[in-house]
Protein backbone atom coordinates (compact mmCIF):
# COMPACT_ATOMS: atom_id res chain seq x y z
CA UNK A 1 0.00 0.00 0.00
CA UNK A 2 1.45 3.41 -0.92
CA UNK A 3 2.16 5.55 2.15
CA UNK A 4 0.21 8.69 2.96
CA UNK A 5 1.86 11.79 1.42
CA UNK A 6 3.82 13.83 4.00
CA UNK A 7 1.67 16.48 5.69
CA UNK A 8 4.28 19.19 5.11
CA UNK A 9 4.11 18.64 1.36
CA UNK A 10 0.31 18.73 1.38
CA UNK A 11 0.25 22.02 3.28
CA UNK A 12 2.90 23.72 1.10
CA UNK A 13 1.35 22.37 -2.08
CA UNK A 14 -2.06 23.69 -1.10
CA UNK A 15 -0.57 27.09 -0.28
CA UNK A 16 1.00 27.13 -3.72
CA UNK A 17 -2.30 26.22 -5.31
CA UNK A 18 -4.05 28.96 -3.29
CA UNK A 19 -1.74 31.51 -4.89
CA UNK A 20 -3.32 30.61 -8.23
CA UNK A 21 -6.87 30.06 -7.06
CA UNK A 22 -7.43 33.01 -4.70
CA UNK A 23 -6.95 35.78 -7.34
CA UNK A 24 -9.33 33.95 -9.66
CA UNK A 25 -11.86 33.64 -6.83
CA UNK A 26 -11.45 37.36 -6.10
CA UNK A 27 -12.15 38.12 -9.72
CA UNK A 28 -15.23 35.92 -9.82
CA UNK A 29 -16.50 37.36 -6.50
CA UNK A 30 -16.31 40.90 -7.83
CA UNK A 31 -17.95 40.09 -11.15
CA UNK A 32 -21.18 42.02 -11.77
CA UNK A 33 -22.87 39.01 -13.40
CA UNK A 34 -26.11 40.76 -14.38
CA UNK A 35 -24.34 43.62 -16.13
CA UNK A 36 -21.74 41.38 -17.76
CA UNK A 37 -23.35 41.21 -21.23
CA UNK A 38 -23.63 45.00 -21.39
CA UNK A 39 -20.09 45.57 -20.17
CA UNK A 40 -18.59 43.12 -22.66
CA UNK A 41 -20.47 44.43 -25.66
CA UNK A 42 -19.46 48.06 -25.14
CA UNK A 43 -17.42 49.80 -27.88
CA UNK A 44 -14.16 49.87 -25.99
CA UNK A 45 -14.27 46.20 -25.06
CA UNK A 46 -15.40 45.05 -28.51
CA UNK A 47 -12.61 47.02 -30.19
CA UNK A 48 -10.03 45.68 -27.78
CA UNK A 49 -11.22 42.09 -28.15
CA UNK A 50 -11.13 42.28 -31.93
CA UNK A 51 -7.67 43.86 -31.88
CA UNK A 52 -6.37 41.33 -29.36
CA UNK A 53 -7.56 38.37 -31.43
CA UNK A 54 -6.16 39.78 -34.67
CA UNK A 55 -2.78 40.78 -33.28
CA UNK A 56 -2.24 37.66 -31.16
CA UNK A 57 -3.10 35.39 -34.09
CA UNK A 58 -0.94 37.42 -36.48
CA UNK A 59 2.06 37.25 -34.20
CA UNK A 60 1.50 33.50 -33.74
CA UNK A 61 1.58 33.05 -37.50
CA UNK A 62 4.75 35.15 -37.77
CA UNK A 63 6.33 33.16 -34.93
CA UNK A 64 5.47 29.97 -36.81
CA UNK A 65 6.88 31.16 -40.14
CA UNK A 66 10.06 32.66 -38.69
CA UNK A 67 10.46 30.73 -35.45
CA UNK A 68 10.38 27.19 -36.85
CA UNK A 69 13.21 27.81 -39.33
CA UNK A 70 15.17 29.51 -36.55
CA UNK A 71 14.58 26.53 -34.29
CA UNK A 72 15.65 24.18 -37.08
CA UNK A 73 18.89 26.10 -37.62
CA UNK A 74 19.61 26.14 -33.89
CA UNK A 75 18.91 22.43 -33.57
CA UNK A 76 20.57 21.15 -36.72
CA UNK A 77 23.32 23.48 -37.91
CA UNK A 78 26.50 23.71 -35.91
CA UNK A 79 27.48 27.31 -36.61
CA UNK A 80 29.90 29.48 -34.63
CA UNK A 81 28.21 31.55 -31.95
CA UNK A 82 25.23 29.26 -31.71
CA UNK A 83 25.19 29.53 -27.92
CA UNK A 84 25.10 33.34 -28.19
CA UNK A 85 22.27 33.22 -30.73
CA UNK A 86 20.31 30.90 -28.46
CA UNK A 87 20.82 33.30 -25.54
CA UNK A 88 19.63 36.24 -27.64
CA UNK A 89 16.54 34.32 -28.72
CA UNK A 90 15.70 33.43 -25.13
CA UNK A 91 16.35 36.92 -23.80
CA UNK A 92 12.75 38.22 -24.22
CA UNK A 93 11.62 35.48 -21.82
CA UNK A 94 13.50 37.07 -18.92
CA UNK A 95 13.67 40.68 -20.06
CA UNK A 96 11.06 43.03 -18.56
CA UNK A 97 8.60 43.61 -21.45
CA UNK A 98 8.80 47.36 -20.96
CA UNK A 99 12.52 47.19 -21.70
CA UNK A 100 11.74 45.17 -24.82
CA UNK A 101 9.22 47.82 -25.87
CA UNK A 102 11.76 50.59 -25.31
CA UNK A 103 14.36 48.71 -27.33
CA UNK A 104 11.86 48.25 -30.16
CA UNK A 105 11.15 51.98 -30.03
CA UNK A 106 14.85 52.86 -30.31
CA UNK A 107 15.26 50.44 -33.20
CA UNK A 108 12.03 50.84 -35.13
CA UNK A 109 10.83 54.29 -33.98
CA UNK A 110 10.67 57.34 -36.21
CA UNK A 111 14.32 58.15 -35.52
CA UNK A 112 15.36 54.54 -34.83
CA UNK A 113 18.22 52.56 -36.28
CA UNK A 114 15.94 50.75 -38.73
CA UNK A 115 12.81 52.84 -38.33
CA UNK A 116 14.29 56.05 -39.70
CA UNK A 117 15.46 54.66 -43.10
CA UNK A 118 12.31 52.49 -43.24
CA UNK A 119 10.14 55.57 -42.78
CA UNK A 120 12.15 57.54 -45.37
CA UNK A 121 11.96 54.78 -47.99
CA UNK A 122 8.42 53.51 -47.53
CA UNK A 123 6.66 56.05 -45.36
CA UNK A 124 5.89 53.22 -42.95
CA UNK A 125 5.71 54.12 -39.27
CA UNK A 126 5.55 51.15 -36.93
CA UNK A 127 5.17 52.69 -33.45
CA UNK A 128 1.60 53.51 -32.42
CA UNK A 129 0.25 51.31 -35.23
CA UNK A 130 -1.45 47.91 -35.21
CA UNK A 131 1.71 46.50 -36.84
CA UNK A 132 3.58 47.83 -33.83
CA UNK A 133 1.30 45.80 -31.55
CA UNK A 134 1.97 42.68 -33.62
CA UNK A 135 5.74 43.23 -33.60
CA UNK A 136 5.79 43.82 -29.84
CA UNK A 137 3.74 40.69 -29.22
CA UNK A 138 5.93 38.62 -31.56
CA UNK A 139 9.05 39.90 -29.81
CA UNK A 140 7.93 38.62 -26.42
CA UNK A 141 6.11 35.48 -27.63
CA UNK A 142 8.27 33.95 -30.37
CA UNK A 143 10.91 32.58 -27.95
CA UNK A 144 8.29 30.08 -26.74
CA UNK A 145 7.93 28.75 -30.27
CA UNK A 146 11.68 28.59 -30.91
CA UNK A 147 12.47 26.88 -27.62
CA UNK A 148 9.67 24.31 -27.84
CA UNK A 149 10.35 23.38 -31.45
CA UNK A 150 14.12 23.34 -31.04
CA UNK A 151 13.79 20.98 -28.10
CA UNK A 152 11.53 18.70 -30.11
CA UNK A 153 13.91 18.67 -33.06
CA UNK A 154 16.80 17.78 -30.79
CA UNK A 155 14.87 14.94 -29.19
CA UNK A 156 13.62 13.60 -32.51
CA UNK A 157 15.34 10.35 -33.43
CA UNK A 158 17.03 11.39 -36.67
CA UNK A 159 17.18 7.81 -37.87
CA UNK A 160 13.54 8.24 -38.93
CA UNK A 161 14.67 10.91 -41.38
CA UNK A 162 17.34 8.54 -42.65
CA UNK A 163 14.69 5.85 -43.07
CA UNK A 164 12.56 8.26 -45.10
CA UNK A 165 15.55 9.18 -47.27
CA UNK A 166 16.29 5.51 -47.91
CA UNK A 167 12.70 5.20 -49.13
CA UNK A 168 13.33 7.83 -51.77
CA UNK A 169 12.13 10.96 -49.97
CA UNK A 170 14.00 14.18 -50.76
CA UNK A 171 14.71 16.81 -48.11
CA UNK A 172 11.39 18.62 -48.43
CA UNK A 173 9.39 15.42 -48.43
CA UNK A 174 11.24 14.27 -45.32
CA UNK A 175 10.53 17.61 -43.62
CA UNK A 176 6.88 17.67 -44.67
CA UNK A 177 5.97 14.02 -44.16
CA UNK A 178 8.26 12.93 -41.31
CA UNK A 179 9.99 15.70 -39.37
CA UNK A 180 7.11 18.13 -38.92
CA UNK A 181 4.42 15.51 -38.22
CA UNK A 182 6.68 13.79 -35.69
CA UNK A 183 7.24 17.03 -33.78
CA UNK A 184 3.53 17.87 -34.21
CA UNK A 185 2.63 17.76 -30.52
CA UNK A 186 5.49 20.11 -29.65
CA UNK A 187 4.56 22.37 -32.53
CA UNK A 188 1.02 22.56 -31.15
CA UNK A 189 2.33 23.27 -27.66
CA UNK A 190 4.61 25.97 -29.07
CA UNK A 191 1.68 27.54 -30.90
CA UNK A 192 -0.48 27.52 -27.77
CA UNK A 193 2.23 29.03 -25.57
CA UNK A 194 3.11 31.64 -28.18
CA UNK A 195 -0.47 32.63 -28.71
CA UNK A 196 -1.18 32.80 -24.97
CA UNK A 197 1.86 34.99 -24.38
CA UNK A 198 0.94 37.28 -27.30
CA UNK A 199 -2.68 37.48 -26.15
CA UNK A 200 -1.62 38.61 -22.68
CA UNK A 201 1.17 40.97 -23.78
CA UNK A 202 1.11 44.38 -22.09
CA UNK A 203 4.42 46.08 -21.29
CA UNK A 204 6.16 46.01 -24.66
CA UNK A 205 2.92 46.93 -26.40
CA UNK A 206 2.11 50.01 -24.36
CA UNK A 207 5.72 51.21 -24.59
CA UNK A 208 6.15 50.64 -28.31
CA UNK A 209 2.64 50.94 -29.70
CA UNK A 210 0.87 53.17 -27.21
CA UNK A 211 -2.70 52.92 -26.10
CA UNK A 212 -5.06 54.04 -28.87
CA UNK A 213 -8.54 52.57 -28.86
CA UNK A 214 -9.27 50.54 -31.98
CA UNK A 215 -5.65 50.73 -33.19
CA UNK A 216 -3.31 49.61 -30.44
CA UNK A 217 -5.45 49.14 -27.37
CA UNK A 218 -5.59 45.39 -26.77
CA UNK A 219 -7.54 43.74 -23.93
CA UNK A 220 -4.75 43.96 -21.33
CA UNK A 221 -4.34 47.65 -22.09
CA UNK A 222 -8.10 48.15 -21.83
CA UNK A 223 -8.04 46.47 -18.41
CA UNK A 224 -5.28 48.81 -17.29
CA UNK A 225 -7.21 51.88 -18.38
CA UNK A 226 -10.50 50.65 -16.97
CA UNK A 227 -8.94 50.00 -13.55
CA UNK A 228 -8.52 53.77 -13.22
CA UNK A 229 -12.00 54.75 -14.39
CA UNK A 230 -14.44 51.84 -14.52
CA UNK A 231 -13.67 48.92 -12.20
CA UNK A 232 -16.61 46.81 -13.31
CA UNK A 233 -15.44 46.88 -16.93
CA UNK A 234 -11.93 45.96 -15.79
CA UNK A 235 -13.31 42.95 -13.93
CA UNK A 236 -15.43 41.92 -16.92
CA UNK A 237 -12.50 42.09 -19.37
CA UNK A 238 -10.26 40.20 -16.96
CA UNK A 239 -12.83 37.48 -16.64
CA UNK A 240 -13.13 37.32 -20.42
CA UNK A 241 -9.37 36.87 -20.80
CA UNK A 242 -9.30 34.15 -18.15
CA UNK A 243 -12.12 32.34 -19.92
CA UNK A 244 -10.55 32.56 -23.38
CA UNK A 245 -7.08 31.50 -22.17
CA UNK A 246 -8.47 28.65 -20.10
CA UNK A 247 -10.56 27.42 -23.01
CA UNK A 248 -7.50 27.28 -25.27
CA UNK A 249 -5.40 25.49 -22.66
CA UNK A 250 -8.10 22.92 -22.00
CA UNK A 251 -8.66 22.32 -25.71
CA UNK A 252 -4.96 21.63 -26.19
CA UNK A 253 -4.28 19.87 -22.92
CA UNK A 254 -3.68 16.37 -24.29
CA UNK A 255 -1.08 17.48 -26.80
CA UNK A 256 0.28 19.88 -24.25
CA UNK A 257 1.16 17.27 -21.65
CA UNK A 258 2.58 14.91 -24.21
CA UNK A 259 4.90 17.54 -25.65
CA UNK A 260 6.13 19.28 -22.53
Amino acid sequence: MPGRPPVVLIVLGCLGLALFVVPLAGLVARTPWSRLPDLLTGDVVADALRLSLITSLASTVIALVLGVPLAWLLARVDFPGRAVVRAVVTLPLVLPPVVGGAALLFALGRRGLVGEPLNRLTGLLLPFSTWGVIIAATFVAMPFMVITVEGALRNLDRRYEGAAASLGAGRWTVLRRVTLPMIGPSLAAGLALTWARAFGEFGATITFAGNLQGRTQTLPLAVFVALESDRETAVAISLLMVAVSLAVLIALRDRWWRAL
Binding site: Y160, A164, A165, S166, A169, R177, V178
Partner: protein, 360 residues
Amino acid sequence: MIDGPGLRAHFELRRSEAFRLDIDVTIPPGTTGALLGPNGAGKSTAVAAIAGLVPIDQGRIELAGAVLDDPGTGVFVPSEARRIGVVFQDYLLFPHLDVIENVAFGLRSRGVGRDEARARSGEWIRRLGLDGMERHKPGDLSGGQAQRVALARALVTEPDLLLLDEPLAALDVTTRSRLRRTLREHLDGFAGPRLLITHDPTEAFLLADEIHVIEDGVVTQSGTADDVRLRPRTRYAADLAGANLLVGTASGGAATVGAHVFHIAHGDVAGPVLITIHPTAISVHRAPPEGSPRNAWVTTIERIEDLGERVRLRTGAPVALTVEITKQSTEALHLTPGESVWIAVKATEIGVESNDPTPA
Protein backbone atom coordinates in the same frame (compact mmCIF):
# COMPACT_ATOMS: atom_id res chain seq x y z
CA MET B 1 15.21 -6.76 -62.55
CA ILE B 2 18.38 -8.16 -60.99
CA ASP B 3 20.80 -9.10 -63.75
CA GLY B 4 23.73 -7.12 -62.40
CA PRO B 5 26.50 -8.54 -60.32
CA GLY B 6 24.74 -7.92 -57.00
CA LEU B 7 26.40 -5.79 -54.35
CA ARG B 8 30.07 -5.04 -54.36
CA ALA B 9 31.22 -2.81 -51.54
CA HIS B 10 34.90 -2.20 -51.11
CA PHE B 11 35.56 0.98 -49.23
CA GLU B 12 37.20 2.90 -46.45
CA LEU B 13 35.56 5.42 -44.23
CA ARG B 14 37.16 7.38 -41.41
CA ARG B 15 34.55 8.13 -38.80
CA SER B 16 37.05 9.77 -36.46
CA GLU B 17 40.79 9.97 -35.95
CA ALA B 18 40.68 6.75 -33.98
CA PHE B 19 38.18 4.78 -36.03
CA ARG B 20 38.53 3.61 -39.59
CA LEU B 21 36.12 1.31 -41.37
CA ASP B 22 37.58 -0.94 -44.05
CA ILE B 23 35.03 -3.14 -45.78
CA ASP B 24 35.29 -5.55 -48.66
CA VAL B 25 32.06 -7.42 -49.22
CA THR B 26 30.53 -8.95 -52.33
CA ILE B 27 27.04 -10.42 -52.37
CA PRO B 28 25.77 -12.12 -55.53
CA PRO B 29 22.04 -11.88 -56.35
CA GLY B 30 19.91 -14.44 -54.61
CA THR B 31 22.31 -14.90 -51.71
CA THR B 32 22.53 -13.49 -48.22
CA GLY B 33 25.72 -12.04 -46.85
CA ALA B 34 26.02 -11.26 -43.15
CA LEU B 35 28.15 -8.61 -41.52
CA LEU B 36 28.67 -10.13 -38.09
CA GLY B 37 30.43 -8.22 -35.37
CA PRO B 38 30.24 -6.87 -31.83
CA ASN B 39 28.71 -3.48 -30.98
CA GLY B 40 31.02 -0.68 -31.99
CA ALA B 41 32.68 -2.72 -34.74
CA GLY B 42 31.40 -0.32 -37.38
CA LYS B 43 28.33 -2.20 -38.59
CA SER B 44 26.01 0.82 -38.38
CA THR B 45 28.51 2.97 -40.21
CA ALA B 46 28.65 0.33 -42.93
CA VAL B 47 24.85 0.43 -43.20
CA ALA B 48 24.87 4.23 -43.39
CA ALA B 49 27.52 4.17 -46.13
CA ILE B 50 25.77 1.56 -48.27
CA ALA B 51 22.38 3.24 -47.76
CA GLY B 52 23.95 6.55 -48.82
CA LEU B 53 23.48 8.35 -45.51
CA VAL B 54 27.23 9.03 -45.23
CA PRO B 55 29.74 9.24 -48.08
CA ILE B 56 32.77 6.95 -48.18
CA ASP B 57 36.34 8.29 -48.20
CA GLN B 58 37.89 5.81 -50.57
CA GLY B 59 36.93 2.80 -52.64
CA ARG B 60 33.65 2.06 -54.37
CA ILE B 61 30.14 0.79 -53.79
CA GLU B 62 28.44 -0.85 -56.75
CA LEU B 63 24.96 -2.29 -56.94
CA ALA B 64 23.37 -4.13 -59.85
CA GLY B 65 26.14 -2.93 -62.13
CA ALA B 66 25.80 0.76 -61.29
CA VAL B 67 28.25 2.77 -59.20
CA LEU B 68 26.62 4.33 -56.12
CA ASP B 69 29.62 5.92 -54.48
CA ASP B 70 33.14 6.37 -55.78
CA PRO B 71 35.13 9.35 -54.45
CA GLY B 72 37.79 8.60 -57.08
CA THR B 73 35.45 9.59 -59.90
CA GLY B 74 33.24 11.90 -57.84
CA VAL B 75 30.14 9.72 -58.17
CA PHE B 76 27.75 9.87 -55.23
CA VAL B 77 24.17 8.72 -55.59
CA PRO B 78 22.18 10.23 -52.71
CA SER B 79 20.22 7.98 -50.40
CA GLU B 80 16.82 8.82 -51.88
CA ALA B 81 18.03 7.83 -55.37
CA ARG B 82 19.50 4.45 -54.35
CA ARG B 83 17.38 1.40 -54.91
CA ILE B 84 18.00 -0.12 -51.52
CA GLY B 85 15.27 -1.48 -49.27
CA VAL B 86 16.35 -1.14 -45.66
CA VAL B 87 14.84 -2.89 -42.66
CA PHE B 88 16.22 -0.75 -39.89
CA GLN B 89 17.12 -1.73 -36.38
CA ASP B 90 13.96 -1.08 -34.29
CA TYR B 91 12.22 -0.95 -37.71
CA LEU B 92 11.73 2.84 -37.53
CA LEU B 93 8.15 2.67 -38.73
CA PHE B 94 6.79 6.21 -38.89
CA PRO B 95 4.69 6.43 -35.72
CA HIS B 96 2.26 9.03 -37.11
CA LEU B 97 1.38 7.00 -40.20
CA ASP B 98 -0.71 3.84 -40.27
CA VAL B 99 0.48 0.55 -41.71
CA ILE B 100 -0.59 1.15 -45.29
CA GLU B 101 0.82 4.70 -45.30
CA ASN B 102 4.10 3.37 -43.93
CA VAL B 103 4.30 0.73 -46.65
CA ALA B 104 3.25 3.18 -49.36
CA PHE B 105 5.76 5.82 -48.24
CA GLY B 106 8.54 4.71 -50.60
CA LEU B 107 6.25 4.57 -53.62
CA ARG B 108 4.70 7.96 -52.85
CA SER B 109 8.16 9.49 -52.39
CA ARG B 110 9.16 8.14 -55.78
CA GLY B 111 6.22 9.78 -57.46
CA VAL B 112 3.79 6.85 -57.72
CA GLY B 113 0.17 8.04 -57.64
CA ARG B 114 -1.87 7.65 -54.48
CA ASP B 115 -4.22 4.93 -55.73
CA GLU B 116 -1.53 2.84 -57.35
CA ALA B 117 0.73 3.19 -54.29
CA ARG B 118 -2.11 2.01 -52.06
CA ALA B 119 -2.93 -0.92 -54.31
CA ARG B 120 0.66 -2.12 -54.52
CA SER B 121 1.18 -1.64 -50.78
CA GLY B 122 -2.01 -3.53 -50.03
CA GLU B 123 -0.72 -6.43 -52.07
CA TRP B 124 2.50 -6.63 -50.02
CA ILE B 125 0.55 -6.30 -46.80
CA ARG B 126 -1.50 -9.33 -47.82
CA ARG B 127 1.57 -11.21 -48.98
CA LEU B 128 3.13 -10.77 -45.56
CA GLY B 129 -0.04 -11.87 -43.80
CA LEU B 130 -0.96 -8.47 -42.42
CA ASP B 131 -4.49 -8.34 -43.84
CA GLY B 132 -6.78 -6.22 -41.75
CA MET B 133 -3.89 -4.30 -40.15
CA GLU B 134 -3.88 -1.55 -42.78
CA ARG B 135 -5.26 1.16 -40.51
CA HIS B 136 -3.29 0.23 -37.40
CA LYS B 137 -0.61 2.58 -36.14
CA PRO B 138 2.87 1.12 -35.53
CA GLY B 139 2.38 1.57 -31.78
CA ASP B 140 -0.40 -1.03 -31.86
CA LEU B 141 1.65 -3.74 -33.58
CA SER B 142 3.46 -6.68 -32.03
CA GLY B 143 7.18 -7.05 -32.66
CA GLY B 144 6.56 -9.66 -35.34
CA GLN B 145 3.93 -7.57 -37.11
CA ALA B 146 6.18 -4.51 -37.01
CA GLN B 147 8.97 -6.54 -38.58
CA ARG B 148 6.70 -7.62 -41.41
CA VAL B 149 5.51 -4.06 -41.99
CA ALA B 150 9.17 -2.99 -42.14
CA LEU B 151 9.83 -5.76 -44.66
CA ALA B 152 6.82 -4.78 -46.75
CA ARG B 153 7.89 -1.14 -46.66
CA ALA B 154 11.37 -2.11 -47.85
CA LEU B 155 10.24 -4.58 -50.52
CA VAL B 156 7.34 -2.70 -52.09
CA THR B 157 9.69 -0.39 -53.97
CA GLU B 158 11.32 -3.44 -55.62
CA PRO B 159 14.84 -2.54 -54.52
CA ASP B 160 18.07 -3.89 -55.96
CA LEU B 161 19.38 -4.71 -52.48
CA LEU B 162 17.66 -5.73 -49.28
CA LEU B 163 19.57 -4.46 -46.27
CA LEU B 164 18.58 -5.74 -42.84
CA ASP B 165 20.10 -3.99 -39.83
CA GLU B 166 19.72 -6.16 -36.72
CA PRO B 167 16.24 -7.23 -37.84
CA LEU B 168 15.59 -9.39 -34.77
CA ALA B 169 17.32 -7.38 -32.06
CA ALA B 170 14.14 -5.59 -30.99
CA LEU B 171 12.31 -8.84 -30.17
CA ASP B 172 12.14 -11.02 -27.07
CA VAL B 173 13.85 -14.41 -27.17
CA THR B 174 10.80 -16.53 -28.01
CA THR B 175 9.58 -14.27 -30.78
CA ARG B 176 13.09 -14.01 -32.11
CA SER B 177 13.53 -17.71 -32.72
CA ARG B 178 10.10 -17.92 -34.35
CA LEU B 179 10.67 -14.90 -36.60
CA ARG B 180 14.13 -16.06 -37.57
CA ARG B 181 12.44 -18.88 -39.44
CA THR B 182 9.91 -16.71 -41.26
CA LEU B 183 12.62 -14.17 -42.03
CA ARG B 184 14.58 -16.88 -43.81
CA GLU B 185 11.59 -17.44 -46.10
CA HIS B 186 11.23 -13.74 -46.84
CA LEU B 187 14.92 -13.48 -47.64
CA ASP B 188 14.70 -16.45 -49.99
CA GLY B 189 11.75 -14.81 -51.73
CA PHE B 190 13.86 -11.80 -52.64
CA ALA B 191 15.79 -12.28 -55.87
CA GLY B 192 18.48 -9.64 -55.31
CA PRO B 193 21.42 -9.61 -52.93
CA ARG B 194 20.58 -9.52 -49.22
CA LEU B 195 22.85 -7.95 -46.62
CA LEU B 196 22.22 -8.86 -43.01
CA ILE B 197 23.84 -6.81 -40.26
CA THR B 198 23.93 -8.58 -36.91
CA HIS B 199 25.80 -9.14 -33.69
CA ASP B 200 24.06 -12.47 -33.14
CA PRO B 201 26.03 -15.45 -34.46
CA THR B 202 22.94 -17.70 -34.47
CA GLU B 203 21.19 -15.25 -36.76
CA ALA B 204 24.17 -15.04 -39.08
CA PHE B 205 24.79 -18.80 -39.11
CA LEU B 206 21.18 -19.59 -39.94
CA LEU B 207 20.28 -16.83 -42.37
CA ALA B 208 23.44 -16.10 -44.30
CA ASP B 209 25.20 -17.94 -47.10
CA GLU B 210 28.41 -16.09 -46.43
CA ILE B 211 29.50 -14.46 -43.20
CA HIS B 212 31.86 -11.52 -42.94
CA VAL B 213 33.18 -11.11 -39.43
CA ILE B 214 33.88 -7.46 -38.66
CA GLU B 215 35.98 -6.30 -35.73
CA ASP B 216 37.24 -2.78 -35.03
CA GLY B 217 36.17 -1.66 -38.48
CA VAL B 218 37.93 -4.41 -40.38
CA VAL B 219 36.59 -7.62 -41.92
CA THR B 220 38.70 -10.30 -40.24
CA GLN B 221 37.15 -13.35 -41.81
CA SER B 222 34.79 -14.17 -44.67
CA GLY B 223 33.37 -17.60 -45.25
CA THR B 224 30.46 -19.94 -44.79
CA ALA B 225 28.94 -20.55 -41.38
CA ASP B 226 31.01 -23.72 -41.05
CA ASP B 227 34.21 -21.93 -42.05
CA VAL B 228 33.70 -19.40 -39.29
CA ARG B 229 32.39 -21.88 -36.77
CA LEU B 230 34.99 -24.58 -37.23
CA ARG B 231 37.98 -22.56 -38.36
CA PRO B 232 37.65 -19.20 -36.59
CA ARG B 233 40.50 -16.89 -37.47
CA THR B 234 40.27 -14.53 -34.53
CA ARG B 235 39.56 -14.73 -30.84
CA TYR B 236 36.21 -13.01 -31.36
CA ALA B 237 35.17 -15.46 -34.06
CA ALA B 238 36.23 -18.30 -31.81
CA ASP B 239 34.07 -16.93 -29.00
CA LEU B 240 31.14 -16.66 -31.39
CA ALA B 241 31.70 -20.22 -32.44
CA GLY B 242 31.81 -21.24 -28.79
CA ALA B 243 28.11 -21.81 -28.82
CA ASN B 244 27.59 -25.20 -30.42
CA LEU B 245 24.79 -24.78 -32.91
CA LEU B 246 23.67 -27.79 -34.91
CA VAL B 247 20.89 -28.33 -37.39
CA GLY B 248 19.15 -31.68 -37.30
CA THR B 249 15.92 -33.63 -37.24
CA ALA B 250 14.09 -34.75 -34.14
CA SER B 251 11.62 -37.51 -33.44
CA GLY B 252 10.66 -39.48 -30.36
CA GLY B 253 13.25 -38.10 -27.94
CA ALA B 254 16.15 -38.37 -30.36
CA ALA B 255 17.76 -35.81 -32.66
CA THR B 256 19.83 -36.79 -35.67
CA VAL B 257 22.67 -34.57 -36.82
CA GLY B 258 24.38 -36.06 -39.84
CA ALA B 259 25.15 -39.64 -38.83
CA HIS B 260 25.04 -38.95 -35.11
CA VAL B 261 22.03 -39.40 -32.86
CA PHE B 262 21.59 -37.32 -29.70
CA HIS B 263 19.26 -38.38 -26.94
CA ILE B 264 17.25 -35.32 -26.00
CA ALA B 265 14.93 -34.44 -23.16
CA HIS B 266 12.29 -32.97 -25.47
CA GLY B 267 10.21 -36.03 -26.38
CA ASP B 268 7.46 -33.96 -27.99
CA VAL B 269 9.57 -32.14 -30.58
CA ALA B 270 9.56 -33.54 -34.09
CA GLY B 271 10.82 -32.36 -37.46
CA PRO B 272 13.64 -29.96 -38.25
CA VAL B 273 15.33 -28.67 -35.09
CA LEU B 274 18.05 -26.37 -33.94
CA ILE B 275 20.29 -27.91 -31.31
CA THR B 276 22.42 -25.88 -28.92
CA ILE B 277 24.93 -27.29 -26.49
CA HIS B 278 26.92 -25.05 -24.19
CA PRO B 279 30.65 -25.82 -24.39
CA THR B 280 30.90 -26.19 -20.62
CA ALA B 281 28.07 -28.73 -20.56
CA ILE B 282 30.24 -31.31 -22.28
CA SER B 283 32.60 -33.50 -20.27
CA VAL B 284 35.73 -35.33 -21.43
CA HIS B 285 36.76 -38.77 -20.22
CA ARG B 286 39.52 -41.32 -20.76
CA ALA B 287 37.13 -44.27 -20.34
CA PRO B 288 33.43 -44.77 -21.04
CA PRO B 289 31.73 -42.47 -18.55
CA GLU B 290 29.57 -43.96 -15.83
CA GLY B 291 26.43 -42.46 -14.34
CA SER B 292 23.64 -40.53 -15.96
CA PRO B 293 24.88 -39.07 -19.29
CA ARG B 294 22.92 -40.75 -22.04
CA ASN B 295 25.02 -39.17 -24.75
CA ALA B 296 28.57 -40.49 -24.79
CA TRP B 297 30.76 -41.25 -27.74
CA VAL B 298 34.35 -41.53 -28.86
CA THR B 299 35.91 -38.71 -30.81
CA THR B 300 39.23 -37.18 -31.68
CA ILE B 301 40.61 -33.99 -30.23
CA GLU B 302 41.49 -31.83 -33.19
CA ARG B 303 42.72 -28.73 -31.47
CA ILE B 304 43.43 -27.42 -27.99
CA GLU B 305 43.32 -23.72 -27.19
CA ASP B 306 44.54 -22.19 -23.98
CA LEU B 307 42.10 -19.61 -22.58
CA GLY B 308 43.89 -19.04 -19.29
CA GLU B 309 42.09 -20.88 -16.53
CA ARG B 310 40.04 -22.79 -19.06
CA VAL B 311 40.88 -24.80 -22.12
CA ARG B 312 38.87 -24.99 -25.30
CA LEU B 313 38.86 -28.20 -27.30
CA ARG B 314 37.58 -28.89 -30.78
CA THR B 315 36.39 -32.40 -31.44
CA GLY B 316 36.18 -34.16 -34.79
CA ALA B 317 33.77 -36.76 -36.21
CA PRO B 318 31.04 -37.73 -35.73
CA VAL B 319 29.99 -34.22 -34.63
CA ALA B 320 32.34 -31.25 -34.55
CA LEU B 321 31.86 -29.56 -31.19
CA THR B 322 33.51 -26.95 -29.05
CA VAL B 323 34.19 -28.07 -25.49
CA GLU B 324 35.41 -25.99 -22.59
CA ILE B 325 36.95 -27.62 -19.53
CA THR B 326 39.18 -26.41 -16.73
CA LYS B 327 42.94 -26.45 -17.09
CA GLN B 328 43.23 -28.89 -14.19
CA SER B 329 41.07 -31.46 -15.99
CA THR B 330 43.13 -31.12 -19.16
CA GLU B 331 46.29 -31.72 -17.20
CA ALA B 332 44.81 -34.58 -15.22
CA LEU B 333 43.65 -36.22 -18.43
CA HIS B 334 46.93 -35.51 -20.26
CA LEU B 335 45.07 -34.40 -23.37
CA THR B 336 46.94 -33.76 -26.60
CA PRO B 337 45.67 -33.08 -30.11
CA GLY B 338 45.01 -36.11 -32.25
CA GLU B 339 44.04 -38.31 -29.31
CA SER B 340 40.85 -40.29 -29.00
CA VAL B 341 38.70 -39.57 -25.95
CA TRP B 342 35.19 -40.15 -24.67
CA ILE B 343 32.95 -37.16 -24.41
CA ALA B 344 29.57 -37.00 -22.76
CA VAL B 345 26.65 -34.62 -22.40
CA LYS B 346 23.42 -35.00 -20.45
CA ALA B 347 20.21 -35.03 -22.45
CA THR B 348 18.90 -32.18 -20.27
CA GLU B 349 21.86 -30.00 -21.29
CA ILE B 350 20.92 -30.16 -24.97
CA GLY B 351 18.79 -27.25 -26.09
CA VAL B 352 16.31 -28.12 -28.79
CA GLU B 353 14.01 -25.74 -30.63
CA SER B 354 11.89 -26.29 -33.67
CA ASN B 355 13.43 -25.04 -36.88
CA ASP B 356 10.38 -25.68 -39.00
CA PRO B 357 10.15 -22.92 -41.60
CA THR B 358 6.36 -22.76 -41.39
CA PRO B 359 5.28 -20.05 -38.96
CA ALA B 360 4.32 -21.32 -35.54
